[in-house]
Point group: C2
Chain length 338, copies 2
């Protein structure tokens, strides 16, 4: 099949690789309808994460079941499915407790930007639609494989509540989905920290009541003004850098919780501030499967339209251009059509 592969920082190609095949009874092979590039793919692209040259890349996709293993009974070829980036059995003690990202049989999508993708725990991970969805729904459904579920997880972890103030640090696709999540959960003030006009616009479409363009101490001062000097009831940290973490803990009110979903890079948590101010940290890799049924319903009934985070669509052959645009912040998120 044709698949996106990474060979060195900045070196993204479309290569011919073996089709994924069923090797375990829990497997399924998905024919990818749409994939996309994730902010976390850029860590390797930028040389900030080690890569294995020649490996496929891409962990977000939706598609149609091509083939299933013998233990997969709820899905059959032809089903349209959302593929959580993190695969889980949905039965182990961790899944049963809602911590699907800690599943004893955890797996990951590794060829989401390709013609086919393998799901290692298909029965526990996949969620299907009734029939084939309208093409207009594909972008929003695609976000459910990662970024919308991840933004939702940030809001859950941060304890967003009706009437409270939620601040979202990070204006990538996950941060924007965090804004949407906080809005849907009923936060009265939803603050997007963003200095990029197109992203600010989507944040407002998603329910942001305030936009703060400043960073660092000025950003903190702006949040303190919005919150009457108290600090935010909930902070959603959707970046993963040391600066974003520092901002998150600077603006969180005493006794609150920072919900973090940005894969941490070079982060040193401010443990003394956390202790002195009783500011907790929760979150991590999103338990996508846990939220999927609820989020799918919200998409299908038109409550949320997270697909707006896609501001470009490119064919698989141009995936390198998709990476370039996202790396340069010329695009928020690029949908890839195999």
């Amino acid at each position: 099949m044709r698949a996106t592969t990474i060979h060195a920082p900045g070196d993204i190609r479309v290569s011919e690789v073996p089709d994924p095949t069923i090797t375990a009874p829990t497997d399924a092979v998905i024919k990818v309808t749409a994939g996309c590039v994730c902010g976390s793919d850029l860590w390797g692209y930028r040389g900030e994460n080690d890569i294995t040259p020649g490996n496929t890349i891409g962990h977000e996709c939706v598609g149609v079941v091509e083939e299933v293993g013998s233990a997969v009974t709820s899905f059959r070829p032809g089903d349209f499915v959302i593929v959580p980036f993190d695969h889980c059995d949905n039965t182990c003690p961790h899944c049963a407790a809602g911590a699907h990202a800690g599943c004893e049989n955890l797996g990951f999508t590794v060829s989401g930007q390709a013609e086919y993708a393998l799901v290692t725990q298909a029965e526990g991970s996949l969620v299907k639609t009734d029939g084939q969805p309208d093409a207009s729904l594909i972008p929003s459904l695609l976000t459910l494989s990662d970024v919308m579920a991840t933004g939702w997880h940030a809001a859950v972890a941060a304890g967003v509540r009706k009437g409270g103030t939620a601040v979202v640090v990070g204006d990538g696709a996950v941060g924007l989905c965090g804004v949407l999540a906080a809005h849907v959960m009923g936060a009265e003030k939803v603050v997007a920290m963003s200095r990029h006009e197109p992203r600010q616009a989507i944040a407002r479409q998603f329910g942001a009541t305030h936009v703060v363009a400043e960073r660092g101490d000025e950003g903190t001062a702006a949040i303190m003004e919005i919150t009457g000097g108290v600090g935010a009831d909930s902070v959603l940290e959707c970046v993963g850098t040391g600066q974003a973490i520092d901002t998150a803990f600077a603006i969180a009110r005493p006794g609150s919780t920072v919900g973090f979903v940005g894969v941490p890079h070079g982060v040193e948590l401010p443990v003394r501030r956390m202790f002195q101010k009783n500011i907790g940290l929760a979150g991590g890799m999103a338990p996508v499967r846990k939220y999927l049924p609820e989020l799918l319903q919200l998409v299908l009934d038109g409550t949320i339209d997270p697909g707006l985070v896609f501001d470009a669509t490119l064919p698989l052959d141009e995936v390198a251009e998709a990476y370039r645009r996202m790396d340069q912040r010329e695009a928020i998120k690029v949908l890839i059509q195999p």
Copy 2:
């Protein structure tokens, strides 16, 4: 008055210092009935925290109101009161949200091992008993000024719940109180990690169902065996060292929360493990005033007897010996009588 002062690591003296006086309308002066030495006092004693030579030391006490400022209306001279180590106004937005340790008017007891102590926010901080308590109750009431409230906070922060498994890292007075808290809150399994026989005995009196004497990898293995390989539902970190934090995150199950109340020293939080396993961190300096009414009731009705953590009582003149015994782990906690 006579007060405990610290002059250098290991150099604890009883000195004549000026009596505390009312300088703000929110102040009260307390004649100390009983004070004690806290594990956190040992940081300075051991040279691991900077000290100001000649300063008074000691933040835990109970006593009788001697004098109050003009804004203090609920207390009068003669009232027996419990003095939270952290003083708060109990009215600011942070107190109103239950985060009393983040009070906008935060203060601290600084001469708890002395004849008199000053409370800077008396109205918001103090809780009194009906009349003078029986002498037998003094030790338990004294624990409410810090260690029992702090152990309780660890359990609350860790989300201890009925039927769950709670593991307490640390067998100091706070850790033992954490065991008691987890037991009262209905945890089915309460595991004390302790290798000191006298502390193990108190842990069992306080409701520990299991004692794990091993540390490091062996300790983790023991907890995994007790929890059927899943990890603890709640972990109470009551030490504050890097090793204790590492143990706490090693034994916490995915999706759970480590409640931490040990003042962090040399701690680097394992942010990647926290992210990958969705293990949160909550807690910090205890909002003592928040819990005081409930804990006082539990002491008065005989449900809890946290005063058992005191295994020695010394007169103020022998406070240096109290520090020596606690430093050498010859005593768990020493009550000081002025």
